[in-house]
Amino acid sequence: MTSPTAANIAAGCAAPDQSAPLPASVDLQKETVITGVVRTAEGELVGGAYVRLLDSSGEFTAEVVTSPEGVFRFFAAPGSWTLRALSRFGNGELAVDAARGVNEVALGVATV
């Protein structure tokens, strides 16, 4: 899998490899990173889940697919966000108050 170098970020809009380390070019003094894993109620990591970031009005902002280890990552801005996950194993939702730097969260999914 290609790593998210500056070149391929500039080229496209697809989400980079979610489990790759943060690129060295990412300045954590400036970026607001929201990252975490998706798990089932039994604690199993969920790869291939669709995680979307919704803004404070509930509007869709971005979506990524979790890595095989269940990892997702967004580059947002400080403020209130909602994470929502869809998967074969059910859905889940979580409110996040993000600050500059890395914000780590855990997102559970379950069938209703």
Binding site: N8, A11, S25, Y50, S57, E59, T61, E63, V65, R88
Partner: protein, 282 residues
């Protein structure tokens, strides 16, 4: 164009995987998804490797497109069914290319990889082999492609539809929130553009909303049906998704995709830019 001619359902696709004359094509920027499993019989097109010029900032020309499709075994009279990840962004982008180069029969798979995955339908890792063809692309149809000068002249005159997220529109973010934010261009939007995020046109499972819902979304946002329309985003793939909705599903007449989009416009010297949530003045 309409939903019946431009779109197929996952059920229809599953029943037509082996129908002669129908070619399934997965299109993505990152084709590792294809390599890990794809719809049985589908071939892949890599949005970056196959569809972008390797040197100039532009996409493949008529000859390059002909050579690509010949090499992949697609002929002019095949029906091409496109699908991909990212809610079909890159598949919609490829659809726009196929239309630009005059392919007769091309459709999108509603929901793309996402619906296929959430429905837990079958994937395979088998890569099909197709015999080479002698594909002949037509001259590009520039009625569906906008360039920067036309976009600047469209301010206050045509419908400009910004399909990025509200925060990108307002200038609070420079890129979609799954990407790092540091970019060379200025933030904001083209003055008088209305904000209709591409995502409003899609259901959570990646399928398109109904024609009635779609017409209401654009009507409520202030799209004037009597005017020509130009859609843009950051690099032109999310706006292909919205171009598809306006032109192919809702059947609006003159709709162009500005593939230079914000990465070009936001880097131009001297053009007007609006900040904040309102369209702004011409």
């Amino acid at each position: 164009m309409s939903r019946d001619t431009a779109l197929v359902s996952a059920d229809w696709a599953e029943q037509n995987l082996e129908t002669p004359g129908i070619v399934f094509v997965e299109v993505d920027e990152d084709t590792t998804a294809y390599d890990g499993g794809h719809i049985p019989g589908a071939i892949k097109i890599d949005w970056k490797q196959d569809l972008q010029d390797p040197v100039r900032r532009d996409f493949v020309n008529q000859e390059q497109f002909s050579a690509l499709l010949s090499e992949r075994g697609i002929s002019n009279d095949d029906t091409v069914i496109l699908y991909g990840g990212n809610n079909n962004w890159f598949a919609a982008y490829a659809y726009w290319y196929f239309k630009l180069y005059g392919h007769e029969s091309v459709k999108l798979l509603d929901g793309g990889r996402k619906k296929w995955e959430l429905d837990a339908r079958t994937y395979t890792k088998d890569v099909p082999s197709r015999e080479k063809t002698n594909y002949q692309a037509k001259a590009p149809d520039l009625e569906i492609r906008a360039f920067r000068d036309e976009v600047v002249q469209a301010i206050g005159v045509k419908n400009l539809v910004d399909v990025r997220s509200p925060d990108e529109f307002a200038g609070r973010l420079l890129a979609p929130a799954h990407l790092p934010q540091e970019q060379s261009q200025r933030a904001g939007h083209i003055p008088t553009a209305i904000s209709v995020p591409w995502s409003k046109a899609a259901n959570e499972d990646g399928t398109f909303k109904s024609d009635e819902e779609l017409a209401k979304i654009y009507g409520d946002a202030g799209l004037d049906g009597s005017k020509d329309t130009i859609a843009y985003c950051r690099i032109g793939e999310r706006s292909s998704h919205s171009w598809f909705v306006l032109k192919e599903l809702l059947g609006h007449e003159n709709v162009k995709n500005y593939d230079g989009s914000w990465t070009e416009y936001g880097s131009l010297i001297g053009v007007p830019i609006a900040l904040g949530d309102e369209p702004g003045k011409a």
